[in-house]
């Protein structure tokens, strides 16, 4: 069977000494930033991108991917022990996880999160491997019109599933698309919106935007809140093993979480956060068995299900990226950047032109998950110690690494001035309640969308109906419109707002 040949090739790549080391470094860093509240994977990956210039592409992507799914593991530790979301996707884990910790059951809660994540991660990786080939074949049937419609669907999906105001998020996308157009136009060679500044003819670096908006913006906003009283349950982590009864309740929750998480991860705009929210809502709706602790008071299912879901989703969200070249969320948008830095054009051709990279990355995720369970369960003590590091030591280090990172992308201080500007812009976005993730997605997709629009229109001789007369393109656009209509329906609208407000 082909799948096994491919996976064998992948494991061959992933099991080299160098790639194992980078997978480990990625997972370690991922856990680290997952544990530390206030540091997210977007800013971290942006910070580390310049450092991967010197690495071979496979090693670089293996490490960056490790940071993303590693962060999902680490986030649960903070959620359970400190009642703070170490990672946005572990917000729901806090509800029952922290209550379990308060009742002296931090150990089983951590184990449930870890084991659930491990299982989900393995399944997610398998789904990724199985879906990759057929989806890639579909992608080869796509012309420019289909790609354009697919990107429209992807962007609409991203805002529909994101939190907050729909119309503001759409505005953010359009703003991102426009910012992506800054720089030299590939077709005509005209430098657009560059104000005769030579550095701007190359466009605005997406690392600069990611760091300014996600790094500095977040830090400033974090610092404006009063320091929380952190109550860390350090002494109480004894006995990691869940009881037999715990297992009995955990297993179905983990299975449900994995299934839903895998499905939601594939959707554009989906990913870890949405998956965690959705599964928790479903678990809460299921009937409690006799003698079971109610939700919100330390039910182990409330930990196992969302943690499995966010991990499964973080694996399967690689599917649209690797098969279609379309990033479904902000982290994947950064991965597109990472691939471009290494001269790999993301899209269906990656699998055929760089099979080592494609399957090596997938295989490394499985290895990474195995590493993470070891990093997170037996070595939990180290991470707990880390939680006592105060934020006032962390944020100067983050600012410094951001500054070093942007400087080293071009060895030019210009990028440092730009990141300062985007820091101010990012904080403004937070103050005005504008979601920054769609901006980054639009920014990455801007040039691609323009290119495909131009080609499609050139082929149709200026006839806009090409987008609705080609069946594939028409159905993609119809799905996008349908999504918008569904969300705009009053009954769904209120439910949607409820889902994002509810903790």
């Amino acid at each position: 069977m082909d799948l096994f040949d491919n996976l064998a090739l992948g494991f061959g790549v992933a099991f080299t000494f160098q790639n194992l080391i980078y997978a480990f470094v990625g997972c370690l860093l991922g856990t680290l930033i997952g544990v530390l509240p206030g540091v997210g994977p977007v800013a971290t990956i942006a910070m580390l991108l310049p450092a991967t210039y010197a690495l071979p592409p496979v090693a670089a992507l293996i490490m960056l991917a490790g940071i993303y799914y590693g962060a999902q593991y680490g986030g649960s530790t903070t959620a359970i022990l400190v009642n703070l979301p170490g990672e946005a996707s572990s917000v729901v884990t806090m509800i029952d996880g922290y209550q379990m910790a308060r009742k002296g059951r931090a150990g089983p809660a951590l184990a449930a999160a870890g084991l659930g994540s491990f299982f989900a991660g393995c399944v997610g990786t398998l789904v990724l491997a199985a879906f990759a080939v057929p989806l890639t074949e579909v992608a080869f049937k796509f012309g420019p019109a289909e790609y354009f419609s697919l990107m429209v669907l992807g962007l609409i999906g991203a805002v529909v599933l994101a939190s907050g105001s729909l119309i503001k998020a759409v505005g953010m996308i359009v703003l991102g698309l426009l910012m992506g157009l800054i720089g030299t136009d590939v077709n005509s060679g005209v430098a657009r919106f560059s104000f005769d500044i030579p550095e701007l003819t190359d466009g605005v670096g997406f690392i600069v935007i990611a760091m300014g908006v996600f790094g500095y913006g977040e830090i400033i906003s974090n610092l404006s809140k009063p320091e929380e009283d952190r109550e860390v349950f350090t002494a109480k982590v004894t006995g990691l093993m869940p009881t037999g009864e715990d297992f009995k309740r955990m297993v179905p929750a983990v299975l449900r979480g994995t299934a839903l998480g895998s499905a939601l991860g594939i959707l554009p705009g989906g990913g870890a956060l949405l998956a965690a929210f959705a599964t928790y809502t479903i678990e809460k709706k299921t009937k409690l068995q006799p003698g079971e602790v109610p939700f919100g008071q330390g039910n182990i299912r409330g930990v196992a299900a969302p943690e499995s879901a966010n991990n499964a989703a973080s694996q399967t969200s690689f599917i649209p990226l690797l098969t279609l070249g379309i990033p479904p969320n902000a982290v994947m948008a950064l991965m597109v950047g990472a691939m471009t830095i290494h001269n790999i054009q993301p899209g269906p051709q990656v699998m055929t032109s760089n099979p080592e990279l494609f399957w090596g990355l997938i295989a490394s995720m499985w290895i990474g998950n195995a590493m993470l369970i070891i990093l997170n369960l037996p070595l939990i003590g180290i991470w707990i110690k880390l939680l006592s590091v105060p934020y006032r030591w962390l944020f100067p280090a983050i600012v410094l690494f951001c500054a070093i990172g942007v400087y080293s992308t071009n060895n030019n201080t210009w990028d440092i001035w730009m990141v300062a500007m985007f820091g101010v812009v990012g904080y403004t976005f937070i103050k005005l309640g504008m979601e920054p993730a769609p901006l980054l997605l639009g920014f990455i997709l801007g040039p691609m969308m323009e290119e495909n629009l131009r080609r499609a229109m050139l082929l149709s001789r200026g006839d806009w109906s090409v987008f609705v007369t080609r069946p594939l393109s028409a159905s993609l656009l119809a799905m996008a419109v349908l999504l918008l209509i569904i969300v705009a329906l009053p009954s769904i609208k209120s439910k949607r707002q409820e889902a994002f407000v509810e903790e």
Binding site: V174, P396, V399, K431, L432, M434
Partner: protein, 162 residues
């Protein structure tokens, strides 16, 4: 007229101005036709779209009632100032400003300067702690970025290394 949602009003204004600026800028380039799009076509289209979205959000913020007026709230000037200044200082110390004759001081000086200034953004500032943090960050950055990853940095001030 009362602003019903301050946040929405100003984000709408932001979109309107940004969209308008992009659309206006796009008219400086060849717009072209649908079949042969010039460099101005797509930005003009998107700029107009963004301006319309902005206008719509502003209109909504003036008409749709909200519970608390969705106030923007106080700006955190102190962290904003020190984080941004610290970041700018890093650039100036690391690379210098040749145009006004500021010499490049190199990575180590830049790390100390940035850490000191950025730390002022927090609620508590203890000089001894910050200095220890600077030393750790200097050694760590030198080891990781210069030695291990081989990134090109001016490490020491130019007037020492020449």
């Amino acid at each position: 007229m009362n602003i019903k949602s301050q946040k929405d009003f100003f984000s709408g204004l932001f979109y309107l101005v940004a969209g308008g600026a992009f659309a206006f800028g796009a008219t400086n380039y060849n717009v072209g036709t649908g079949a042969r799009m010039g460099p101005g076509y797509f930005p003009l289209l998107l700029g107009i779209l963004l301006a319309i979205i902005g206008a719509f959000i502003m209109f909504k913020s003036l008409t749709v009632e909200t519970q608390d007026g969705e106030k923007i709230g106080k700006w955190a000037w102190k962290p904003l100032f020190f984080i941004i200044v610290g970041n700018l200082l890093f650039g100036i110390l690391l690379g210098g400003l040749p145009s006004i004759g500021v010499p490049a001081m190199g990575l180590i000086v830049a790390i100390f300067g940035t850490t000191l200034v950025v730390s002022l953004a927090g609620d508590t500032f203890k000089l001894k702690e910050v200095l220890i943090l600077s030393i750790i960050l200097s050694i760590g950055s030198y080891g990781a970025f210069v030695k291990l990853l081989n990134l090109q940095f001016p490490v020491w001030p130019t007037f020492i290394t020449g």
